[in-house]
Amino acid sequence: MEPILQTQKLSHVYSAGTPFQRAALTDVDLDIYPGEYLGIIGHTGSGKSTLIQHLNGLLKPTEGKVLFRGQDIWESKERTRQTRFHVGLVFQYPEYQLFEETIYKDISFGPRNMGLDEAEIDRRVREAAHFVGLRDEQLERSPFELSGGQKRRVAIAGVIAMEPEVLILDEPTAGLDPIGVEQILGNIRDYHEAHGATIILVSHSMEEVARTVDRLVVVNDGVIPFQGAPREVFQHGDELEAMGLGVPQMTRVFHQLRAMGVDIDASVYTIEQARRAIRDYRSRKGAR
């Protein structure tokens, strides 16, 4: 399959040519495929935020290329601008970017910038609002009257309304309580399924990515040391620990169990897998 987004030898240096010069990304090659649910993990300062801001053309590579559907996104000014509509980026704490008097107007900001006609804008705003669980009668209210979690969902709707083919979210659940986390992850999954959109979820919660993504990319010191299915990535427990990331709790428990001499599949990373592994083990032993 052709990748929808691709970075080729992508490097980024901040404040180049000053004493504060600092390399944030070095020769990063990354392929992202249509319709996949990708997780990016890395600690603060690992380069993951710099990486995602390249994917929609907010940052320009110091060296290397970013391709969207095979075309360099920096080929022309217009292409860069269009890329921002195809590749939606939801920043960390997006609720702090709300500015309009009504929720409706705020969500319509993106579609309006795209130059769509009123009818299409209206359709998109309502649909996006629906994805994040806002009711029609709420749309004329001020976004500033909402609770923190609701504000965040309005901000996410503001990006979803552009109907991007790739939706990138930088720690969308940071600071939320368990209910808030579940709601946001559910909204994202709904969009993913309804539009067949590619989702890139940036997170530092291992447990969270473990149960949501199909593929995992680890960013550390401006490079990608590991990528692959969560099961594969979590095999590198010690290295991940050294990067300040660690592995999901279930993986730790099962590694411990193996170390205690139990012959059990230790590539477990969710509760469901853990239960299955235990069931399998018991039926295997019981059958004997």
Partner: protein, 284 residues
């Protein structure tokens, strides 16, 4: 007087600015925080846990009932400074509680306000910064530090006041795992070595699991109160309050509930959980 540092008596609170009093946030909270203990207060957003915290050093005053800090009624204005120096407060956003643009100057802020002599301030600042492991950064600018480091500076700023109790209102909500660990280790160390009472407001189950005592709030009331390993066993009840339990407890609970296995629920740490599973699997 018994040895409770903070005591709330049928504490009620409603924001007064709305007409007809507005919805009440706290509906009769009775709580005794023992001196030297490490108490976690758990609850979903809107459960009233932050409002409760703000009553512990008179940022908010009760609409009904009373709060006593070391025996002082928080409504007694003449005791305000004494109350605030007894119970220090650390907030969620480290950026918005650091006042000065040099680390040590910021840590000195509280003792300066209290009129502590200069040499004594110097001693307290150095000690506080060493206690949180930020001494080497004393001349740095706070905005260049990581989130975890900033939060540790904020904690040092409170310790320099020499409080007997520190209340932390979701201090790790904006931090990454490394920062969270730094802050939590610092808090635990303070509690253990200097005997400072710690009240940790959080919605992270794994953080709450590290406390001596766990208080669960829902709808402005205390709905569970006990040792973490006891409280976490009430899985269904916690879920009804919009909370989750640590994955270890969740696994054991599902094994019990769904798979009908006879496993105990009181294993919290990775090791304890592995041990329970070991016993289960080798008993076959």
């Amino acid at each position: 007087m018994n040895d409770s540092i903070i005591r709330t008596q049928d504490l009620r609170f409603a924001y007064p600015d709305t007409e007809a009093g507005g919805p009440s946030v706290l509906n009769g909270v009775n709580l005794d925080i023992e001196e030297g203990s490490f108490v976690a207060v758990l609850g979903h957003n809107g459960s009233g846990k932050s409002t409760l915290a703000k009553h512990m050093n008179a940022i908010l005053l009760p609409s009904g009932g009373a709060v006593y800090v070391s025996g002082m009624d928080t409504r007694d204005e003449s005791k305000l400074l004494d109350i605030r120096r007894t119970v220090g407060m650390v907030f969620q956003n480290p950026d918005n509680q650091i006042v000065a643009n040099v680390v040590e100057e910021d840590v000195a802020f509280a003792p300066e306000n209290l009129g502590v002599p200069s040499e004594e301030i110097r001693r307290r600042v150095d000690e506080a910064l060493k206690a949180v492991g930020m001494y080497e950064f004393r001349t740095h600018a706070p905005h260049l530090l990581s989130g975890g480091q900033k939060q540790r500076v904020a904690i040092a700023g409170v310790i320099a006041m020499a409080p007997r109790c520190i209340v932390l209102d979701e201090p790790t909500a904006m931090l990454d795992p490394v920062g969270r660990r730094e802050v939590l280790d610092t808090i635990r160390e303070l509690n253990r070595t200097s005997g400072v009472t710690v009240v940790l407001i959080t919605h992270h189950m794994d953080e709450a699991a590290q406390a001596d005592r766990l208080v669960v709030m829902s709808k402005g009331k205390v709905v569970a109160d006990g040792a973490p390993r006891e409280v976490f066993q009430r899985v269904e009840e916690l879920k009804s309050y919009g909370l989750t339990v640590p994955e270890t407890t969740e696994l054991l609970w599902e094994l019990r509930q769904e798979d009908g296995l006879d496993v105990p629920l009181d294993a919290l740490s990775d090791e304890e959980c592995a041990q329970v599973l070991y016993d289960l699997l080798t008993a076959v």
